[in-house]
Symmetry: C2
Subunit: 783 residues, 2 copies
Amino acid sequence: MVRTQKRRIIAAEGTNMTPTEEMNGSGNLMDFLDEPIPDVGTYEDFHTIDWLREKSRDTDRHRKITSKSKESIWEFIKSLLDAWSGWVVMLLIGLLSGTLAGVIDLAVDWMTDLKEGVCLSAFWYSHEQCCWTSNETTFDDRDKCPQWQKWSELMTGHTQGGGAYVLNYFLYVLWALFFSFLAVSLVRVFAPYACGSGIPEIKTILSGFIIRGYLGKWTLLIKTVTLVLAVSSGLSLGKEGPLVHVACCCGNLFSSLFSKYSKNEGKRREVLSAAAAAGVSVAFGAPIGGVLFSLEEVSYYFPLKTLWRSFFAALVAAFTLRSINPFGNSRLVLFYVEYHTPWYMAELVPFILLGVFGGLWGTLFIRGNIAWCRRRKTTWLGRYPVLEVMAVTAITAILAFPNPYTRRSTSELISELFNDCGALESSQLCDYVNDPNMTRPVDDIPDRPAGAGVYAALWQLALALVFKIVITIFTFGMKIPSGLFIPSMAVGAIAGRIVGIAVEQMAYHHHDWIIFKNWCRPGADCVTPGLYAMVGAAACLGGVTRMTVSLVVIMFELTGGLEYIVPLMAAAVTSKWVADAFGKEGIYEAHIQLNGYPFLDVKDEFTHRTLATDVMRPRRGEPPLAVLTQEGTTVEDVEALIKDTDYNGFPVVVSRESERLIGFVQRRDLTLAIKSARQKQDGVVSNSVVYFTEDAPQLPASNPQPLKLRRILNLSPFTVTDHTPMETVVDIFRKLGLRQCLTCGLPFTWACCLRLLGIITKKDVLRHMAQMMNQDPESIMFN
Amino acid sequence: MVRTQKRRIIAAEGTNMTPTEEMNGSGNLMDFLDEPIPDVGTYEDFHTIDWLREKSRDTDRHRKITSKSKESIWEFIKSLLDAWSGWVVMLLIGLLSGTLAGVIDLAVDWMTDLKEGVCLSAFWYSHEQCCWTSNETTFDDRDKCPQWQKWSELMTGHTQGGGAYVLNYFLYVLWALFFSFLAVSLVRVFAPYACGSGIPEIKTILSGFIIRGYLGKWTLLIKTVTLVLAVSSGLSLGKEGPLVHVACCCGNLFSSLFSKYSKNEGKRREVLSAAAAAGVSVAFGAPIGGVLFSLEEVSYYFPLKTLWRSFFAALVAAFTLRSINPFGNSRLVLFYVEYHTPWYMAELVPFILLGVFGGLWGTLFIRGNIAWCRRRKTTWLGRYPVLEVMAVTAITAILAFPNPYTRRSTSELISELFNDCGALESSQLCDYVNDPNMTRPVDDIPDRPAGAGVYAALWQLALALVFKIVITIFTFGMKIPSGLFIPSMAVGAIAGRIVGIAVEQMAYHHHDWIIFKNWCRPGADCVTPGLYAMVGAAACLGGVTRMTVSLVVIMFELTGGLEYIVPLMAAAVTSKWVADAFGKEGIYEAHIQLNGYPFLDVKDEFTHRTLATDVMRPRRGEPPLAVLTQEGTTVEDVEALIKDTDYNGFPVVVSRESERLIGFVQRRDLTLAIKSARQKQDGVVSNSVVYFTEDAPQLPASNPQPLKLRRILNLSPFTVTDHTPMETVVDIFRKLGLRQCLTCGLPFTWACCLRLLGIITKKDVLRHMAQMMNQDPESIMFN
């Protein structure tokens, strides 16, 4: 018995038919010979994909290739190429995104410095590169060299004095306005999707949603260019988030080269998940952190196979970036730090306080930013994006210039704040009173009293903190590429450094206090303010994005030692808890909600006690479900149904009276099939009968030729019974990636069993969830 | 309309009833007041759990706690405690597994050295600790000190000469036999589950299977003790795999303290996933690698919440172990290495060759080991486990003693092979011919010609390689705790070091060859044989376990630099590809299959073109499905049905003729409910009528009291239509963690629509998959 069945299955496999085809084929051979209808099985813009269908299409494709590969050498080679295409795509993504990241870094460096001055030996050199090539520079004056001239020096010959200052100030603002004007204009004219950080949209796309052009070639090009302009303009934004978008555009670009990925929306998303990992990998130089970020924050379905490939793409990207060496230090990471002092148990208190600060900042930022973005969406503000960008740039530049900590680029600022004060550090932050008799080695400088420079720096940092907090809220979400990793980290790093210096000075002046007595003797190096800055940065980033493991791993890759993981983790946990207490969603989820994307978050727990029957359509009092019958409908009727309704699919039933389900047909497939039949098939006219059964209905000879559509019918639509708890339904939608699900009734009445009662779409599920959380269900806009 | 529905839902939520209860309650209040039947909803030993049911039970519990928490302060505190219990459990797991790992390390160290000699100053000191405390030791003779005496010295006063050698040899073998005898006896008498590495079983348990006692207290105790004995006996096995089992036992122990975890098999598995991460974290000192190992290799469902907690547990465990400091070097990692030379592109060729070797070794090991284990299972061999262990121990000890590379513990061997030859290295492997005029700094020793010691070492290593390859195949799977990480790594490290020395000498003697010309000038330090050993170890481990990302990350954490990730990755990828070409499954999957556990691998792709109707039971010609009717069956009938069949559950239909489904009832629940009713409910006798409807059937007054069982009825059993492709069914089983799924028919005939046609259980799915892969379907033994 078992053997017979086996043979039957193998026989079926030999024929290269899908189960549906096989069944159809047995009934009507002609139908099997028909060529496929073009575009059937694709999706419309702003629609949800059906993961189950994509997966089964990929399996069909794979089966076809496997069975063909035994036929000839050429087919075998083709099957090998197909198997390898995943790795090739990853390699290409890694190479291109690494290169782009390097180019962006170099361009940003140059253009940021262009706001201050120009290199006389070669105008395309940044300040640092200019003075590198100069031989006259000593180590102490690394950034002073004759080739580099400030604008005032070049134009008037003065470097000092009020006039020069005003001229430099004026030109700084002018350059900033010029850059941001260029950026916003390019975005508006060529690629409106290039604005923002892109991560909310990428999350939505990866969860199975179509936004055509969001990851297109134009977006890639314009986003790369405008990202450089936006960062160079000195606005309070970072390039890390947009780099993820850029990498995903690369992923989309290369996946369109291979039909395996371009023709399957599910497989394409595997590539995009890996590309997101590559993006974070080059943004921070943290390949493992990038993979975990993609896994934790961005991706929806992450098969283990993809994990391995993502890691490969992330590594290739990181090494490509390193071989370009934009920071000129052969370091992979963005902020390389090395601390020489361990941390002590008692320091956990300030670390946890920084975590609380990070959580509060996260809440403030999300609430403020969302309120402002909502205002932008709903009021006149949204109609003048260029003006808004120019205004914010002007305010930023005018307020930023006088303060040395806001004038420079934010990543330089963070880098300085993270750094430990070595003996050679010339920064104002390291202006401690030195003991003239000190003969300790360089990496073991004891705590010292703060000098005037440190006190001045503290004031300036405090002002910078307030400025950054306020301006970032208004900057994120404007119509230019803008990431929030760097501004968030800057806020945290400033706060952390201030706390760090305070603790250090307290420990120095009061080392007889009980809390310091045990671990901080005089002359010991016990507090590292740079570590506080790093912990603060992690806390603030965590508060805004609600990342957890990936955040800690990225930070771990920056420091390269497990030593400091505990402080980072304590701060990240605290920050997440504090922020979660005020609202569960991170900034990306908040923006997804603001835009009404249909995103079913895997992290949300649905705990309400509703049943499928409460959610399904039609509700009581609504018109009955729009269904098709398996035979007897004419082409005209179907077209009318398509025109009158906006449903994305129709259940097919035996007859309108019995409502017995035989399958489900997608609206798009139906439209395309009828269009194609009208063009190609002779005799199909408006009053041709459409039938979904295996055999054509018996019709009088005078009738026009009927149209068989069984091929586009999904014979195994997903069904749940109407008493299934919604938590199960939500789980099924999430895990299987359904687009819709039919609801059938169990026979509580003595009517026919398992009658088709209704339908639940992803939109219905999301609206129900919004309603349960006392939110406006109409905010979910797409299907 | 929307508002009304909302209010209705909220009203329902206020009553603390599950949907089922709510519905039942409305019909019959008495039933709602009934106390719950004990043990309903639990599982029998060697049975599969239903993840959907566990999840919905947890949501119910959570809902109850949330609504109660508003009632009083005490309930609020209880709800807080409940929310925190996850973190508490993680902390406890981390602390205990870190401590146990430290204790095991110390004990193994001492007992391994006990085979050679004893410390006179304190017999509980290992060789290293003994000579540490000795003041007379110079740096060069770290391991020679008067306090440490070999057995021959202690007993006869001789250290040199044939007699002393024979005596030491004899005692070495004797101790080994004694240790292994103790180990196997303890396992046999007290905890048969303590044998093996435990990872295959843990994988199965995490995928949703019950093996009572596998993670129990006795297993924990005995496994810890016997692991020390087994490793000390010098057998070719490691402690890394069993440490994962030990950590999971800790996880099970602590999860039984909290009802949230102890009463829910799904939640308990979340804890166990995290515990597995903690186990790997302490085994290698690699917390991030541990989390990824748990994610990639061990866990089945890994919610993101668990990822964060796993990381916490892994970190706590790693820091606990470090504070115990068993290796005496304050290092977190097992094999700490630091290389000073970068690798060159051309070296990728030998690295990839090592990858090929690793893949071949993996295939050889898996095939050989499985063949031997199958023989043990099926022949007389399995009846004499003690004898087998003793025989293998004797052979191992006798063959291992003469070779210095097999005599010492395997982890010491790996450690030495990984190490770069510094200036202070006294090992035989570093016996190079030194240039007397050398004045280079210590970390930049140029390549040198090999001395006699290196050539001797090469021969000994080659012999050790053959020995390890053969003996490991026979050792893994015996009735003692045995891991295969360390033996696999040893095989790879030996092969790698041999290749490394060969390349190094080739480069030294032929640096004018084209391949060396570009990167290996005379006097340069261009080849690091230790790196080759590490790459080989990664390749061999990858070939056996088929780990990918976690393998590379663990190795990355050992070296602590991204520099060497590319060689490791190249070797790991090659090894996986080569091994996969010979068979897709890793050693753990092979052992799962050998034992017939019902494990539905997430990594396997099901690509066959079968339909649900091909798999469901009953098949054509088999007796019809055993069903219950919603009323009219007596208690006696039900008991007879339970006795006559061994199905795990029964569909409940309206009547035997219509076969219209109303729900599904689990066998165990049915048994328990009837037993409890017979004990507690008066009037329930053998000919009481059992009914599953909402209202009691109308019966004559003379009839005994009927028994209402609607409460144990699952009203929303999972159904698929019989034309659903099996790949979708497999996907649903995997992603939703179903135990069984009912098959309904769509109306191809004009019979009643959606008739219940059959049932598919996880076992059926697995048997079908085995059959499709030309394996014996009867090998799947459990349900």
